[in-house]
Amino acid sequence: MRRTLNFRLPAIAMFVALSSSAQALPDAFGIGQFEFGGGLGYDFPLAQDDADLGPSLHLRTRLGLSPRFAGEAIFGWTLNGDGEIPAGDAVEAPSLMTGHAAGVVRTGGLGFATLVRLGLGWTRLSLPNDVESLNKFSWEVGVAVELPIGPVRTEIGPRFWVVDLGDNTRKHVELRLSGVIPLF
């Protein structure tokens, strides 16, 4: 019984803190408000023998254009794990660097919100050892749940990301944890 209470008290305290901080944040984008942040992710390449799961990193700037809509610029770096040839040698995965401009629609407001994001832009796909680098059009569709923590608008959710190589596409699903704070 005492052991249970020991776990409950911090949990209740954290819930109260999160709830109060959530209520302290506006439940909509601030018009003209500029936010900056970044986050980490984990990338799942789809149907690509020469790439495996790997981490990613991104920076994000956001400008509120209306209470429900914001524009974003997102820069990301993805380092997929190595693939493998049937005979057993490793195949180093291509590295990916992305710059996307995105529109974000926000719904909800009871302590959390749902974000839907559509982004377009460019991806630089580099084969290892400077064999080749390609700059190509890419796009993404994502959903996320926003859970404000203190002054940080924290969000978590997946995005579907496609790099258009002209006669081929490289497709990824990436789970991202991200946060932005208002700057001015």
């Binding site: 690509q48 020469d50 490793a90 195949v91 064999v131 006669d167 596409t169």
Partner: protein, 190 residues
């Protein structure tokens, strides 16, 4: 007078819609692509008579070895040849015995033509200066991929499905290549 204008507007709108539909269709079809890695065993399947399949590729000083590659012998290539959009990457995995006993290197050339008499002058250089230690050893995929030259030309030749590979030993040292795998990364539509 209004009817021709309306007709023009309708034509423009339907034309735009058709273009948008085709673009969307192209986008959706392009989504259905995969990136596949396949291997061709040159020692086993690329030997030209009088050599027999499985014989090591023997390179003596001043000579070269010609291998005839027909990717159609691979089930995957044969079944999906029409759906292959692009050869994205290529490299080799090899195991070399150094008969001469001193460190050397070897080069690989590629050509659409078989039977060349001077591949160093007539074919396209694909790999040069691949180091072979005095004791022989393995050449892994990453090492070979990093040394690939003339990638675009090689892609065109490989995409045809049949071509010739010419292997040369540099520096007049005898080599025996016990294993030579051509490794291709292909983008394939479904």
């Amino acid at each position: 007078m209004r009817i021709p204008k309306l007709d023009l507007v309708l034509r423009s709108v339907s034309g735009s819609l058709l273009l948008a539909f085709l673009f969307a269709l192209w986008g959706c079809l392009n989504l259905l692509t995969t990136t596949e890695i396949i291997e061709f065993d040159v020692v086993q399947n690329g030997q030209v008579p009088p050599a027999t399949p499985g014989d090591p590729i023997v390179l003596s000083a001043g000579s070269f070895h010609e291998a005839s590659i027909d990717l159609g012998e691979l089930d995957f290539f044969e079944e999906h040849h029409d759906e292959i959009h692009r050869v994205e990457r290529l490299g080799f995995k090899a195991r070399v015995s150094n008969v001469g006993g001193s460190a050397t290197s070897c080069s690989i050339y590629i050509s659409a033509q078989a039977g060349l008499t001077n591949p160093a002058g007539e074919a396209t250089l694909l790999l040069s200066g691949l180091r072979v230690p005095a004791a022989g050893g393995r050449i892994d995929y990453s090492t070979s991929e990093a040394s690939i030259e003339n990638l675009d030309k090689a892609r065109d030749l490989v995409a045809r499905g049949d071509f010739a590979l010419y292997t040369l030993a540099d520096g007049g040292v005898d080599l025996a290549i016990d294993e030579l795998l051509l490794v291709l990364t292909l983008s394939v539509g479904l």
